[in-house]
């Protein structure tokens, strides 16, 4: 009799079926991965287990006893706690208060601050190396970098002393040292008999950490594998239901008619130091570097969202002064942000509106009146080109899976017919299949003559797609790699500034 058993789980959001008979079974003291492409239902299954989402139909057994989980409180009472993909931290509360939230030690209805500090400190200290040695107990979480916020979220789950710990894309915003600290803590929990359910889009991590994996596809469970006896290709095949080609270079050779579209000279902003480069029509120019070396700021500056203190930007040889996104859009520059939830989408508004928002002026009648049929046609076009999986165009965006939401953001900018597309780590948190589709969209756009500036935190992507990559380090372009120079090794070296050190 398994410790945890979920059977026949069904859930629908609006018109989209998220779970269609998924199942999962796991033992205590196990590191169990939950795998699947985006939209396969991983997050929903996780949330069903933690009581955040009420399944339409489900059978959940703990220690062989059927349980119903109405809300996170009940789940917690049964020893299930969770680290979510969207953080469940209250931004204005301190780290300590967040970790203790909902389980504050209390005496006569008052928070026992001393006891709270003692227990929270004990948990956070275990992750000490993830905070660069500090213990920021009094800092509001809004003041921490995303990676540390994620660690706080994990501390919070661990502080609840769970029997089952659910981690949903918990490593997405962590850097190496933080991932190490996390893995160590998770192995420690495993040794103490905790069941850890781990979801990550980084397959290597899963193979490194976990014992078994349950694979979901289209809301149903495909199977469970012993990871020690499986290889990555096999698991990917299970996720996709088809095999994908091994990594191959996917760059176009330089066509004859290439010309410079965007020229940047001596760009200086708060975080950029004298950045110069050009981009040509049909080119995918990569921007690489360690997290936070000015990549975001470069794209934002070109999009008019960050202040430029000096430097020159020319578009088709004509100087432009991007001061607002609105102006950038008028110059037909588009920015596709990576963090879809925060930056691009109006999650309660219909998919249609979200798609057509940036380009609505182009199709409107004089005076700004919209023509419904045209709007629908344009949106429908984007849905087809990007193969967005949706119920109805008028459903709110939040009914879509994560990968499909990201496609909506891309679709919005496609409809503005941009000459330059700036992409800010667009594949972050997206599954393999969705990535492939995004790559082919990029390819097609480049072939149409659009210039693309592509920032990615995954060097493999850059190797695959870019003929030329700028490597940033502390706001400077430390190296420009071209052609065969663009390899994972060279990118990594340049990113950590190896070439900068003489000898």
């Amino acid at each position: 009799m398994p410790f945890l058993e979920m059977r026949d789980v069904h859930k629908r959001f609006g018109g989209v079926v998220a779970l269609d008979g998924a199942s999962l079974s796991a033992e205590p003291g196990e590191l169990h991965a939950l795998l699947g492409a985006n939209g396969s239902g991983k997050s929903t299954l996780n949330k069903t287990l933690t009581g955040v989402v009420a399944a339409d139909r489900a059978e959940v057994l703990l220690d062989g006893q059927p349980v119903t989980l109405r809300g996170p409180r009940e789940a917690q009472a049964r020893g299930i706690s969770a680290v979510y993909q969207e953080l469940s931290l209250v931004p204005d509360l301190s780290v300590e208060d967040n970790v203790a939230l909902g389980v504050e030690p209390a005496r006569f209805g008052f928070v026992d601050r001393r006891e709270q500090r003692r227990t929270v400190r004990g948990v956070v200290e275990r992750f000490g190396s993830a905070f660069e040695g500090r213990l920021p107990l009094d800092t509001p979480v809004a003041g921490l970098p995303p990676g540390e916020q994620q660690i706080v979220e994990i501390c919070k789950a661990v502080a609840r002393d769970p029997r089952i710990l659910v981690l949903d894309e918990a490593t997405a915003s962590l850097h190496e040292a933080q991932v190490r600290a996390l893995f160590e803590a998770l192995r420690d929990l495993k040794d103490r008999g905790v069941l850890v359910i781990f979801t990550s889009h980084r397959l290597e991590e899963v193979f490194e950490l976990c014992d078994r994996a349950t694979v979901l596809r289209s809301g149903a469970t495909v199977g469970t594998v012993e990871l020690a006896a499986a290889d990555q290709a096999e698991v990917v095949r299970m996720m996709l239901g088809r095999s994908i080609d091994r990594i191959e270079r996917d760059r176009t050779e330089a066509p004859e008619a290439r010309r410079v579209v965007l020229e940047v000279r001596g760009l200086i902003t708060d975080r950029l130091r004298d950045v110069s480069f050009t981009v040509e029509t049909g080119e995918v120019l990569g921007v690489a570097g360690l997290q936070g070396q000015g990549q975001d700021e470069l794209l934002e500056a070109l999009f008019g969202a960050a202040r430029i203190s000096s430097g020159e930007v020319r578009l088709d040889g004509k100087p432009i002064h991007p001061r607002s996104p609105r102006q950038a859009v008028r110059e037909r520059i588009a920015l596709i942000p990576g963090e879809r939830a925060r930056e691009g989408l109006f999650s309660r508004r219909p998919i249609l509106e979200n798609l057509t928002l940036a380009s609505v002026g182009r199709r409107a009648l004089p005076g700004g009146l919209l023509r419904g049929a045209r709007e629908r046609r344009a949106a429908g076009d984007a849905v087809r080109r990007l193969q967005i999986k949706l119920g109805r165009l008028l459903d709110p965006v939040l009914t879509l899976s994560g990968g499909n939401q990201q496609k909506v953001v891309v679709g919005r900018w496609l409809l503005t017919e941009p000459r330059v597309i700036l992409m800010d780590d667009p594949t972050k948190g997206i599954d393999v299949g969705a990535k492939e589709e995004l790559y082919s969209s990029m390819r097609r756009l480049a072939d149409e003559g659009v210039a693309i500036v592509f920032h990615s935190s995954e060097n493999l992507e850059l190797v695959r797609l870019c003929g030329r990559v700028l490597v940033l380090f502390e706001g400077r372009v430390v190296q420009v790699l071209e052609g065969d120079q663009v390899t994972e090794d060279r990118l990594l070296e340049a990113s950590v500034g190896v070439d900068q050190v003489p000898g």
């Binding site: 208060d97 939230l101 809004a142 919070k156």
Partner: protein, 332 residues
């Protein structure tokens, strides 16, 4: 030493115990200007009467703060306070022996009204701004049923004690200190913590196992309870009942003025209207500032018509000032 003090002060500000810099600055300025302009600002009459004027709005603004911190807003607050006051005064009939009963009734009516608001907001899932606005008419209607015309008599012991002082400290000032103490208790409770969490991010609080609905309901109940205290302060201050006590003349919007002033005080005090940040300490300052500004307008000989304009300007200034550091902070 100094930076330790600064750090503990900023921590205090964030926890809503110490009023923010903005409100402290504004408070010092208004007190200074007032002292300069008003001829007898430090006379015992002036001190006592000023503190007496502060209490009703101070209590109302603490009430509003609690609701706002929890992510709501109470547009029925003024009407509820008026209702509490007329219920209480009708029971008193000027009889000192009935005072305990009348106090209990004022507080009880406030809490019950708050409970009603809270249940509507939390369980009918109506937007607080709409639900409480509608409830303000319900409370107003009951108010007019209970006391259709001004009347009723507050026992003399209540009005005179309110204007008394104990070893040189006005009773009204002690009441304010007591209210602050009550807020401190709320703040330190588990409920207080959850109030901040729910107001800061309702979904996150829910996912953390906080009983969100219960917390929301309780925020209105606590708000109503402080509203009951505001009602008693009004009675002590006025000596009688009047259904239009908190309304601008010529409007039938019972308690409207009180509601607006309480929200203004909350904003000046640095509590974010989106919830989750701030505290009643700042709102108390905000309430006092609003009252002092009226005095300044009077003693500076500025036409009274400008009072609203100046109040508005102060609210905007307070908002602008608190926004400054937010602008400076670069996005993480």
């Amino acid at each position: 030493m100094i930076d330790r003090a600064v750090r503990s002060l900023t921590v205090g500000m964030r926890r809503g115990l110490v009023p923010g810099l903005t409100v402290t600055t504004l408070l010092l300025i208004t007190v200074a200007v007032n002292a300069l302009l008003a001829p007898n600002f430090f006379s015992s009459y002036s001190v006592i009467s000023n503190f007496s004027s502060f209490v009703p709005l101070v209590a109302a603004s603490i009430a509003q703060t609690i609701v706002v911190l929890g992510g709501g807003i109470d547009l029925s607050l003024g009407a509820l306070i008026t209702l509490s006051s007329v219920m209480s005064v009708v029971l008193m009939e000027g009889d000192p022996g009935r005072l305990p009963l009348a106090v209990a009734v004022a507080i009880g009516v406030g809490a019950a009204g708050g409970l009603l608001n809270g249940l509507i907001v939390a369980f009918l899932r109506l937007q607080p701004i709409v639900a409480t606005f509608a409830m303000s008419f319900v409370f107003a209607g009951i108010t007019l049923k209970v006391l259709p015309q001004p009347g009723g008599q507050v026992p003399a012991v209540m009005t005179t004690t309110y204007r008394d002082s104990v070893i040189g400290i006005p009773v009204a000032a002690l009441v304010i200190a007591g209210l602050y103490g009550l807020w401190w208790v709320v703040k330190r409770s588990t409920l207080g913590r959850h109030l901040y969490a729910v107001g800061g991010d309702e979904r996150a609080a829910y996912a953390s196992g906080v009983r969100v609905n219960q917390v929301r309901v309780m925020s209105y109940v606590l708000g109503g309870t402080f509203g009951g205290v505001a009602a008693l302060a009004i009675l002590a201050n006025t000596g009688s009942g009047d259904p239009y006590v908190g309304a601008a003349v010529g409007t039938a919007l019972i308690g409207g003025q009180t509601t607006l002033a309480s929200i203004a005080a909350v904003v000046i005090g640095g509590t974010a209207l989106r919830g989750g940040v701030g505290g009643a300490g700042g709102s108390i300052g905000g309430a006092v500032i609003l009252a002092l500004v009226s005095n300044i307008v009077f003693f500076a000989g500025i036409s009274g018509g400008y009072r609203q304009l100046i109040n508005g300007a102060i609210v905007i200034a307070a908002l602008a000032l608190t926004a400054v550091p937010a602008f400076r902070r670069s996005p993480a």
